[in-house]
Amino acid sequence: MNYDARRLGLYGVLGALVVFYLVPLEIGLVTSLKANPLATLPFAPPTPEGFTLSEWTRAFGALQSGLVNSLLLAVPATIFSALLGSMAAYGLTSLDWRGQVGLFTLFLAGIFIPYQAVLLPVSRFWAVYAPLEEWLSVLWLLPVLEEYHGELLTLVITHVAYGIPICTLLFRSYYKELSTEMVEAAKLDGATAYTIYRRVILPLSVPMFAVTLIYQFTQVWNDLLFALIIMGPGEGAPVTVGLTNLGSSLSDPGFAVKMAGAFIAALPTMIVYVVFGEQFAEGVAT
């Protein structure tokens, strides 16, 4: 009997925690559907009269292009940083030579860098020394491409560069677990470093790619700082920037539209997270 009471208590606490973690989201959701959020209790669902989808439409209209931009940003950035991370980890782990650990430490340190410490040089670099949107101006004559895509490209490259350290870490811990004898066997079989990567290591990396892609996608999609500084508000802005500007005026804080916007912006990463939760947790725990 005592045991059951304890178990019940345990589930009670866990349930309370669920409420704690989900309440803001629940509130956000119901608020986004209310015509007048200030009129009702925050966590109460909207009354039939007060129910509206207009905030969602409004938010979606405002964030539409941002969503596309975020996608254009996050997908290539994720893929390339994962790929480069895998390559770097391979070169530093699966083959054998002196000084690997030291070099890896340099990669590792890059994970922890506060972006404010590099923000000015990076923004200056892209603005002054490598204005890709000017260099590639030829491309903008094509129908689909716009100049801001050039700026997005700079953002992609930036995120790839800063994503390499964590991807390298993830892959390295994975590659360390692979059998060294297997790599030696491949060497004896006549494989070059490139062939070993292509035919042995890469195919075996698929599980880790899943983890890395998911983790990196989340990081890049959710970033505000670089998006704000390198791209700024405007046509090419990713959705995070758009969201900060949504519905803020002194007279009407526009919480409903803000909530709707928040959900729209968060939906991709939330979906990725819920569907691929295992891999996400694995990446986080490394």
Binding site: L10, Y11, L14, L17, V18, F20, Y21, L22, V23, P24, I27, T31, P42, F43, L84, M87, A88, G91, L92, L95, D96, W97, L103, F104, L106, F107, L108, I111, F112, I113, P114, Y115, Q116, A117, V118, L120, P121, T158, A161, P165, T168, A193, Y194, N222, D223, L228, I229, T240, L243, T244, N245, P253, F255, A262, A266, T269, M270, G277, A281, V284
Partner: protein
């Protein structure tokens, strides 16, 4: 040799002749008569082979990380007015001196420290407690874990929107609750005394799930026998956790702390989104927000560069011991 294999296997498949022919030109591995690059030993061979793999990422990352920091340091030594056309002959630490005399900077530094410590500790404690609860062989474990980690998958910007609403003076949930229990309503964001705490609480909401995951992995790594032995030795549950389990989570604690502290240093995204501008709510200005403001709103770029460097040193102070610790343990 393959003639022998052939004999050993026995054909019975007809057409011996052809088979013999086919095999004799199969060829063995080409054994060259000269050594290829005789002075390379196999270690160097591995090194060369690995270069095209790690060098490009290293160069890219190296430029954006180490190159950028170096450049930033140079910028911090330059006069503010000359930022766009720096006179590198006239370098000084003026901006650093300025920082230490600037009350805004001092305040921001203090806030950063408070955020760092309070946020990290609270996340660790909360994460540990939740992890311990989850570790107790409960059903629907995956569901609970997914829910608790969900906030971590959200952008700072998104969570800022939610908490902006939650902290709303008139109708936000927090005030609704405090009013209901008789504590009255508070200006969570506008009141400088409360703002930082409110921010820290929101961040804990977002990140304690991360600490939980790390601790859960750490707990899972402890063999069941430890729990059983402690129980047999007559330890109460509390004692058992405190004296047997928690000490073994040292590694998890350290790695989680480091990551959390680095996130705390990055909290710019949250504060900017909360305020919608470069001016975070009063009392919540941290070094990160100050840096960005000085750079892109106040036009004090070299000052901002100096702040950035100091932020970097702060981060270094956190990770350098960590990296040394990991290196010594051979975990790298």
């Amino acid at each position: 040799m393959f003639d022998r294999i052939h004999d050993a296997v026995g054909t019975g498949k007809g057409d011996d002749e052809q088979r013999v022919d086919a095999r004799t030109d199969g060829g063995t591995a080409t054994v060259s008569d000269e050594d290829d690059g005789g002075f390379f030993d196999s270690v160097s061979r591995d090194f060369l082979g690995s270069l095209p793999f790690w060098l490009p990422p290293f160069v890219l990352m190296g430029f954006f990380v180490y190159g950028a920091i170096g450049w930033n340091f140079a910028l911090s030594l330059v006069n503010v007015q000359q930022f766009n056309d720096p006179n590198y002959a006239q370098l000084d630490f003026e901006q650093y001196a300025r920082a230490f005399g600037d009350p805004t900077f001092i305040q921001a530094a203090q806030n950063t420290a408070v955020l760092l410590v309070a946020f990290t500790l609270a996340c660790l404690v909360a994460g540990l407690l939740v992890a311990i609860l989850i570790d107790r062989h409960i059903r629907f474990e995956n569901t609970f874990r997914t829910v608790y980690l969900l906030p971590f998958s959200l952008s700072f910007v998104v969570t800022a929107q939610f908490w902006l609403w939650l902290y709303n003076y008139q109708s936000g949930l927090v005030n609704v609750v405090t009013q209901a229990v008789g504590l009255g309503r508070y200006q969570w964001i506008s009141n400088p005394q409360l703002a930082l705490g409110a921010v820290v609480f929101a961040l804990i909401w977002q990140f304690s799930g991360y600490a939980m995951v790390v601790y859960l992995a750490g707990l899972r790594a402890i063999p069941d026998e430890h729990y059983e032995a402690a129980r047999v030795d007559g330890a109460s549950t509390l004692k058992m956790y405190w004296r047997v389990i928690v000490p073994q989570l040292k590694g998890a604690t350290i790695s989680a702390s480091v990551v959390l502290m680095v996130f705390a240093l990055k909290a710019f995204d949250f504060l900017y989104a909360l305020a919608g501008s470069y001016f975070p709510p009063n009392g919540t200005d941290i070094l990160a927000t100050m840096m960005v403001r000085q750079a892109f709103s106040a036009g004090q770029r070299s000052y901002a560069a100096a702040i950035g460097i100091m932020l970097f040193l702060l981060a270094l102070a956190v990770i350098a011991p960590y990296l040394t610790y990991q290196y010594r343990r051979g975990e790298l």
